[in-house]
């Protein structure tokens, strides 16, 4: 799929979550997403960036503007090399958390996007990909 723009943000500390939100907003505007869709993907990016930091021990996100036969979209790929998720189905359930959160992050992020995929291996890390199309 043709990518017209790629950016990368490291996620090492709590301020970086804010930077991820801001960068997601900038690109969502560039893609031409509606205000509600911008808000949805920025919120999803905030949840996933925090997961990367809190559960993955830090990592990075790659933000890409996609163009599929004239249809534009924004894709975010979050990757960490943390402990990984042993049971993904359980992690996607609302209210499930191993930390101090509300357990809405992963399932919530999935609901806020058009595309969602997750791959994780215990001991190797986690990769979450989301996309929102115009």
């Amino acid at each position: 799929m043709p990518t017209t723009k790629t950016e990368r943000v490291e996620i090492r500390q709590s301020d970086d979550v804010v930077r991820v939100r801001q960068q997601t907003r900038t690109l969502a505007v560039e893609v031409g997403l509606s205000l509600v869709d911008q808000t949805k993907i920025v919120t999803a990016s905030s949840e996933l960036a925090r997961n990367t930091l809190d559960y993955g021990g830090g990592g990075e996100v790659v933000l890409e503007i996609l163009d599929q036969a004239g249809r534009r979209g924004l894709r975010l790929t979050f990757e960490d090399r943390g402990a990984g998720i042993p049971d993904i189905e359980q992690a996607l359930k609302d209210g499930f958390t191993t930390g101090k959160g509300m357990g809405l992050g992963l399932g919530g992020a999935k609901r806020l996007c058009n595309e969602f995929s997750i791959a994780s291996k215990p001991g190797e890390g986690t990769k979450v990909i989301i996309a929102r199309w115009k």
């Binding site: 808000t39 920025v42 949840e47 809405l104 919530g108 806020l112």
Partner: protein, 129 residues
């Protein structure tokens, strides 16, 4: 360290969140508000989030916590000025903010708090009869 200012306004405390909060700032606000409710014997807390472009689960939880703690300390929390896109997103995210009172703007939020205050004053007057 960064802090979000808390203003005293009659019997109420007024907080206007105007920055994109990182998580530590949100936690600090929660702690600051709790101690100010006690220090000023505040009966209401008004939180204006009209400048916030998103409310994620962390900020949502902060609002819920502030409302719960202030209720225990006999103060009402009203969150005002939520943007429509934020409200739509919050519901889809799965956060209903069930314990938080909301109002469209600062005037209506203040009216909610004052309404509750005059009710409790009326109760006090009844008790004296």
């Amino acid at each position: 360290m960064d802090r979000i200012p808390i203003l005293k306004f009659g019997n109420a405390l007024l907080v206007t969140i105007q920055v994109d909060m990182h998580d530590r700032l949100a936690t600090t606000l929660e702690e600051d508000l709790t101690s100010k409710i006690v220090a000023h014997s505040a009966r209401g807390v008004l939180i204006d989030i009209s400048a916030l472009e998103i409310v994620d689960s962390f900020i949502g939880r902060m609002l819920d916590n502030i409302a719960a703690v202030s209720r225990i300390l006999d103060a009402d929390t009203v969150v005002v000025g939520m943007r429509p896109a934020v409200a739509i997103t919050l519901v889809e995210l799965g956060l209903s903010l069930a314990g938080v009172k909301t109002a469209l703007n600062v005037e209506r939020g203040m009216a909610l708090i004052e309404g509750r205050l005059s009710e409790s004053e009326a109760d006090d007057a009844d008790d004296e009869d």
